[in-house]
């Protein structure tokens, strides 16, 4: 909390790809009801992921309403918004957990079909869900390899090899972790979260979705995840980071996208907006001048 104030001007950190351009037209502008004067903070090249005009409704509720977001290699995009804004739902469309009602998903410029989690994994999309999505009755290694178990030459489960690998990954995330034989329901909230993170990073993802990955972690473990994100970013992995912690987002993300009531309020480079402006976007839907407004931006 008492960490650092807004550091929108301290740009020293951002040495990687995102480049501010003046003229690049975003997909948002095509369908948005407003006309946009300036666009910024849009990295160049072909995005790793592009979600266009995604809509999904549950019963009468439009959980996600014509939302478009994109992500470039080596980039961290923070996804912000109030509770129930539709963040988790939007990324669950990407991870294959939900089937969208409308819209399209493109990976490196090519449209892909993602109808279930297997499709998403085949595209190199790994997800840490807000609910962690762990099978509580089996141990950490079984969760780590769930759906892609290591086999012996005979085709049986190679539990020992899986445990050995599990020990390695977990050591990187949570060096104090020892309870490899216990079903994960007996672990603490933070330990469970570490298992979920381990599972997402272990399989050479190209795109990583992290839905509040540090919500249950202690300060040391949170810092470790922060380091991890920077490391993965340097390896060229694209990351969607959902968080309610503005400090974290400003610290780790290159760009941020704010959602409100299922619609995108705006997209901005973390260098172009400050805390208060982002709070305004989240709470009131006000899009500041440093951001590209989306369909959910308040009109004036």
């Amino acid at each position: 909390m008492a960490k650092t104030p807004a550091k929108k001007t301290i740009a020293a950190k951002n040495v990687s790809k995102p480049v501010a351009t003046e003229t690049h037209e975003t997909p948002l502008a095509v369908t948005g009801s407003q006309t946009f004067r300036k666009t910024r903070a849009q990295p160049e090249g072909i995005p790793l992921i592009e979600m266009k005009e995604i809509s999904i409704a549950f019963g009468g509720i439009k959980a996600v309403d014509h939302a478009s977001i994109n992500l470039f290699p080596g980039e961290v995009v923070g996804l912000l918004g109030h509770n129930g804004a539709g963040k988790s739902t939007l990324i669950k469309v990407l991870s294959g957990a939900y089937k969208r009602d409308a819209g399209s998903i493109h990976v490196e410029g090519k449209e892909v079909t993602i109808n279930n989690p297997r499709d998403a994994k085949a595209q190199g999309i790994e997800t840490i869900y807000q609910t962690l999505a762990l099978a509580d009755n089996v141990d950490a290694a079984a969760n780590l390899y769930l759906g892609r178990e290591l086999k012996t030459k005979m085709g049986t489960l190679d539990d020992v090899a899986m445990e050995a690998e599990c020990r390695k990954v977990m050591h990187r995330l949570n060096p104090n972790f020892r309870r490899f034989k216990e079903p994960v329901m007996k672990l603490s909230g933070g330990q469970r979260q570490s298992v979920a993170i381990a599972r997402a990073i272990h399989f050479n993802a190209r795109i990583l979705i992290m839905d509040e990955p540090t919500a249950a972690l202690g300060p040391q473990e949170t810092a470790q995840v922060g380091e991890l994100i920077k490391q993965l970013k340097a390896e060229g992995i694209g990351i969607f980071l959902i968080s309610h912690d503005l400090h974290d987002v400003f610290d780790l993300a290159d760009r941020l996208v704010v959602m409100k009531n299922g619609k995108v309020v705006g997209t901005a480079s973390t260098k172009d907006v400050d805390h208060d402006e982002v709070l305004g976007m989240i709470i009131a839907g006000k899009c500041p001048s440093g951001a590209i407004p989306g369909p959910g931006a308040m009109r004036n």
């Binding site: 991870s95 957990a97 279930n116 989690p117 297997r118 994994k121 997800t127 869900y129 609910t131 962690l132 999505a133 762990l134 099978a135 509580d136 009755n137 089996v138 079984a142 969760n143 769930l146 759906g147 892609r148 178990e149 086999k151 085709g155 049986t156 489960l157 020992v160 090899a161 445990e163 050995a164 079903p183």
Partner: protein, 467 residues
């Protein structure tokens, strides 16, 4: 439940006493141990009790712990035990199959009609193709019906309880129509070996010992191999004494069971027939009405203690049940299919998100259940040497009871195959023990029902205390 478990979970919780250390080192599941102790206790009580009424040759002077009764017990348990291994996986997956009893009747009637009305007239009685086609029919039809149940549950999203309740009612109707309400009999004579009631379905001491020795070797190999695997990655190992203890206990149980099976003699009449058919010279001896062998006394064949004798060894249905238990334990613990069943039962949403096709998995587990019902229907109809639409009646209740007594939780995600086997054995022990005591079926039902509820209650207590 018993002294042993009582002391291991009572004061031992406070400090690491030798008992607790022992269980930790050997990684013995104290819950299963409690069940085994309870089972042995039930056996002893029945033996003592039956001995008070009418003394016999049992371990404690009764008629329960005799080779004959234990041998029969295994045969009687086999059909329910085979089905309960499938029910474990279904209940672990948070599903249930109430239709297994009706399914068993239907499958048995189907194979009966095929053998008796179709194949026997066409190919001639006793043609070897009859039993082969009969067996394939059971396994195939069982698997198909199971898959159909699974399809309705997984893809049409009708709760398994409803689908299989419908099946319980409907399949017995189909069985009635197929059999035209009659008893279909007799089954093919070769098919009969699966029932355990004829000489050809008894393995005899030689093969029984051979199987026992192979099983002991397998136990030792599994323990050594497991140790080597853990060494490969430098993981903590069990103490050597614990490994030796486990290997010894496993081997003793295996050899002991075989010894009991191998001391059950053929009925004297059958020994006599065998001797005549194979022109074996029956030795002379002194008559003893309680003897199990046969001998010649004054030019007639009589019973005696010393003479010509044949032992049954394992019966085929018992062997099938033990084999199914081993294979299903392997499937549940060593294959990714089994892993998915447990993970999906623990958290269906997580399994789906991990990329497991949970719908197809559900169909597969129901189909496996159907296949096992097919196996059981072979055993049941061969044993009765007939098929009727009532053959499997109330079997679903016994199968589910065995599974639950064996520690499978209806909430899903938890359960073991060997637990269900012990559950099945426990239930059958109570039923046959009470009939040894000449107690009416009504009392047997009351006790089995009570045991079911008591077992679940004790299980809950145990789980609460262990946490």
């Amino acid at each position: 439940m018993t002294n042993t478990t009582g002391s291991s979970q009572g004061p031992a919780l406070e400090q690491e006493g030798p008992i607790k250390k022992f269980f930790r080192a050997t990684e013995i599941d104290t819950r299963i141990l409690g069940m085994i102790v309870a089972l042995v206790l039930v056996w002893c009580i029945f033996d003592i009790w039956s001995g008070i009424i009418r003394p016999n040759e049992g371990l404690f002077g009764g008629s329960f712990l005799t080779p004959r009764n234990l041998w029969t017990l295994l045969v009687q348990t086999s059909s329910i035990a085979v089905m309960s291994t499938g029910m474990v996986l279904l209940i672990v997956l948070r599903q249930i199959d109430l239709s297994v009893g009706s399914m068993l009747s239907l499958v048995a009637v189907a194979t009966g009609v095929l053998q008796v009305y179709q194949l026997a007239p066409a190919l001639g009685v006793g043609h070897p193709a009859i039993w082969i086609l009969g067996v394939l029919m059971c396994l195939g039809v069982g698997t198909l019906i199971g898959a159909f149940n699974g399809f309705l549950t997984a893809y049409a999203k009708i709760p398994a309880f409803i689908v299989t309740l419908g099946g319980l009612i409907a399949y017995s109707g189909v069985a009635f129509l197929l059999a035209k309400g009659e008893t279909v009999a007799p089954m093919d004579q070769n098919f009969g070996v699966f029932g355990g009631g004829i000489e050809r379905s008894w393995l005899g001491p030689f093969w029984s010992w051979l199987i026992a020795i192979i099983a002991c070797a397998a136990i030792i190999y599994a323990i050594v191999n497991g140790r080597r695997q853990r060494q490969r990655f430098g993981f903590p190992l069990r103490p050597v004494w614990a490994e030796v203890f486990l290997a010894t206990v496993g081997s003793i149980v295996m050899l002991g069971t075989t010894l009991v099976m191998n001391s059950y003699a053929w009925p004297p009449k059958l020994i006599e027939n065998f001797a005549k058919a194979n022109s074996i010279v029956i030795p002379a001896g002194i008559e003893n009405k309680d003897g199990k062998a046969i001998c010649m006394a004054a030019d007639s064949i009589v019973r005696c203690t010393e003479g010509f004798i044949l032992y049954t060894g394992y019966s085929l249905p018992a062997l099938i049940a033990i084999g199914v238990c081993l294979v299903m334990t392997f499937v549940a613990t060593r294959t990714s299919f089994g892993r998915y069943v447990y993970a999906t039962g623990g958290n269906p949403e997580a399994a789906e998100l991990a990329g497991i096709n949970t719908k197809w998995l559900t169909v597969k587990v129901f189909a496996l259940m159907g296949f096992l019902v097919g196996v059981s229907s072979i055993i049941s109809s061969a044993r009765l040497n007939a098929a009727t639409n009532a053959l499997g009646q109330t079997n679903e209740l016994y199968v589910i009871a065995a599974t639950v007594i064996g520690g499978t939780s209806l909430a899903g995600g938890v359960g073991t195959i060997y637990g269900a086997m012990i559950g099945a054995l426990m239930m059958q022990s109570i039923i046959s023990g009470m009939s040894l005591l000449n107690l009416a079926a009504a009392y047997q039902n009351m006790v089995v029902g009570g045991v079911l509820v008591l077992a679940v209650y004790l299980d809950q207590l145990y789980r609460r205390n262990v946490k």
